[in-house]
């Protein structure tokens, strides 16, 4: 008899795993992890440059994470990350002789660092859990504080899980050299987010998850470092997500497919589709590729080149992140278990292009970014 996914062993094992001793929802191990990553944007094309340097952004990130069970029913986690950023970013765009837009890069190279701290506590109940989390992130000109609450509940033998979460954050920006460059001196932003999701075990080897999210942002939403960037003072974002995971016995392969649809009050709509798999080779190394496609439409107030004739009361921005564009990213991850330590590494390449976006752009943004990321991690369980 050919073994199918729903063999008696698989069915019985799935039912057994629903028994409390196995479903230990409270983690019983302590985890300590560190990782480091380098993010590097490609240089701009000289022909697209009006002023400034072609070199763009480089970010080095270091992260530290620890989590542990506390008593019988609680667990806690703490993570700290530090980023050092250098390089320049676009100030604005202007119309070139042939009707295309060219980039004005900021002259000075930024050398900044960001520190972030996140802490969370979870309480586990019979079939549910509740988490509270606090976060802080600070750079010399930008500070953000957040608080979040989430709830998860299992139904029908843990075959179905409902997740609800809410979060609130306040951000403050005090742009550097504000007076010198005529920038706004201080801006504040408040965001509220809600998210609901449902996860369903379709079979002993397949899981489906769908979710909806709503985020409302109010306050100073413009980019103060751009020459001419004026955005509305409120933004409502909506998302729908779906993800599917499937497990195959062959080389213990896990397949994953994700989809996300986003639309907001700025007029931006976007879609993201990604697929990946992880498998374990006989040497004990797990590896897997990821492929992701992203496409967005432009914001209703997007201008392909800054138009200083427009009144300052009218929303306008030439930020490439609000233009119509699409992007492919592809990468590879690998993991290796050595005793209680897991080593991991990943490389990813991201390339965006005006031709891949959801709208037909009048003139594509010349500063669409391309970057590569390389990361290494170490995780220790004890």
């Amino acid at each position: 008899m050919a073994r199918r996914d729903a063999s008696p062993l698989a069915v019985l094992s799935a039912a057994a795993l629903a028994l409390p001793a196995f479903g230990a929802s409270q983690p019983t191990e302590r985890t300590l992890a560190v990782s480091t990553a380098v993010y590097q944007e490609d240089d701009l094309k000289r022909s697209n440059l009006v002023f400034g340097d072609v070199e763009r952004y480089k970010v080095k990130t270091n992260q530290f994470y620890v989590s542990a069970p506390i008593g019988r029913n609680w667990s806690g986690s703490l993570s700290y990350d530090n980023e050092s950023m250098s390089g320049a970013s676009p100030w604005g765009t202007s119309e070139s002789a042939d009707g295309q837009s060219d980039v004005i890069m900021s002259g000075a190279s930024i050398d900044d660092s960001r520190n972030g701290l996140d802490a969370s506590m979870t309480r586990y109940f019979d079939q549910s859990s509740v988490s509270v989390s606090l976060g802080y992130s600070g750079e010399h000109d930008y500070h953000s504080r957040s608080i979040g609450l989430s709830y998860e509940r299992d139904f029908f033998n843990r075959n179905t899980t409902l997740g609800l979460s809410a979060s609130y954050s306040t951000d403050e920006i005090t742009p550097t050299d504000a007076a010198l460059f005529g920038r706004v001196l201080y801006g504040e932003k408040r965001s509220r987010s809600f998210y609901a999701s449902l996860t369903q075990l379709m079979s002993p080897v397949a899981v489906l998850n769908v979710g909806v999210g709503l985020t409302s942002r109010r306050g100073f939403l413009s980019d103060p470092y751009k020459l001419r960037d004026i955005r509305p003072d409120s933004r409502l974002e909506k998302t729908i997500t779906a993800s599917y995971r499937h497990y195959l016995d062959w080389k213990q392969t896990s397949l994953r497919l994700d989809y996300r649809y986003f639309w907001d009050s700025f007029g931006v709509r976007s879609q993201t589709v990604s697929g990946s798999f992880m498998q374990t080779l006989s040497s004990g190394i797990s590896w897997g590729p990821t492929l992701r496609y992203y496409a967005q439409s432009e914001a209703s107030f997007y201008q392909s080149f800054d138009q200083y004739a427009l009144p300052v009361t009218q929303a306008q921005s030439s930020d490439f992140r609000l233009s119509s564009y699409g992007a492919w990213s592809y990468g590879v991850k690998a993991r290796y278990q050595l005793g209680a330590v897991e080593l991991s590494g990943a490389i990813e390449r991201y390339e965006s292009d005006k031709g891949l976006g959801l709208n037909e752009p009048v003139a594509g943004h010349p500063a669409l970014v391309r970057f590569g990321v390389f990361s290494l991690g170490l995780e220790f369980k004890f």
Partner: protein, 318 residues
């Protein structure tokens, strides 16, 4: 539990003592909660309320009942936790073979499909119906105690609850825990296995026979007819959970000799079956070694291996 139990824990005496004390408490809890004999066990409450009203149950009890339901479906109705009422017919006091008339009213009380289970209650609709979770709970307790010792940081232990065994980790760096499977005809071990992070359960029908009018009747009963099954004498199964191994072994017994062997082969886990004549049949990994039948285990993986997603994602603004 009724049969000899032992716990072997690798580690310092102090630590092993405190962990085994925790295990003994937990084993006693299982017994107190799921026993048919004590008055305030949840099973006794459910059975007393049969035909009267639903009884509140917790998540663990519901998960055990649902697991029993899966066994019921997989076995085509043979594995039925409501079949315990047949004890009333096949008791030690019996001197004559039961008749259809005697069996009929008892058989009408046997049907797991009729048990009403909701998220937090269970109801036996007919007065006289009973559930018996002893079999499932004994095997599950081995897994639960294994998880308990693991939670206490023990990575090498053997839990043996009357023949339902779970081996945590391995005995040493190179070898698994050595467990012998008893030969039913007496005379030592039928097979030697080395287990690593696995459960081993043995179900037997030969030890408890009822002799009536010169005939031997096994205590493995078909819940649909009420009569004993012409079953294998003993079945041992090795699986990632002792409860899964135990259910597979029990279902093999309930299916009778021929169907039982077919079920074991299709199930796909290593097994050793001994028929009433003493013949041994093995499969899926059991070999003929120098000292007779043996099985050497490697760490087994389950069907759904959650791949952890890294929490480290480099933040990229989009």
């Amino acid at each position: 539990m009724g049969s000899p139990c032992s716990i072997k824990i690798a580690g310092s005496y102090q630590h092993a003592k405190s962990v085994s004390d925790a295990c003994i408490s937990e084993a006693r809890r299982f017994e107190a909660v799921y026993s048919r004999y004590t008055n305030d066990s949840i099973v006794a409450q459910i059975n007393t309320a049969a035909g009267l009203k639903p009884v509140r149950i917790d998540a663990e009890c519901r998960a055990i009942l649902n697991y029993a339901g899966v066994c019921f479906n997989l076995s085509g109705g043979l594995f039925d936790v409501t079949a315990g009422v047949l004890r009333r017919i096949w008791s030690r006091a019996r001197t004559r073979k039961p008749t259809e008339e005697e069996l009929a009213p008892i058989l009408s009380l046997i049907d797991f499909n009729q048990v009403e289970i909701t998220d937090d209650t269970v109801f036996l609709p007919r007065s006289g119906m009973e559930i018996d979770l002893g079999g499932v709970v004994k095997e599950y307790a081995a897994d639960a105690l294994a998880q308990l010792v693991k939670n206490h940081g023990v990575d090498s232990a053997v839990i043996n609850l009357g023949g339902d065994i779970f081996c945590v980790g391995a005995r040493g760096a190179e070898e698994g825990w050595h467990i012998g499977i008893v030969d039913p005809k007496g005379g030592g071990a039928a097979a030697a296995v080395q287990l690593v992070n696995s459960g081993l359960a043995t179900s037997g029908g030969y030890e408890r026979f009822l002799e009536i009018e010169g005939q031997q009747y096994s205590h493995i009963l078909d819940p649909r007819t009420g009569f004993p099954v012409n079953s294998l004498a003993s079945v041992s199964v090795i699986a990632e959970q002792t409860v899964v191994a135990g259910s597979a072994a029990t279902i093999a017994l309930l299916k009778g000799e021929e169907e039982g062997l077919k079920w074991l082969e299709d199930f796909g886990c290593p097994y050793l079956a001994i028929d009433q004549g003493g013949q041994m049949v093995t499969g899926v990994g059991f070999n003929s070694g120098a000292r007779g039948l043996e099985y050497v285990g490697e760490p087994l993986k389950g069907p759904l291996n959650e791949q952890r997603t890294g929490f480290f994602d480099v933040k990229v603004s989009q």
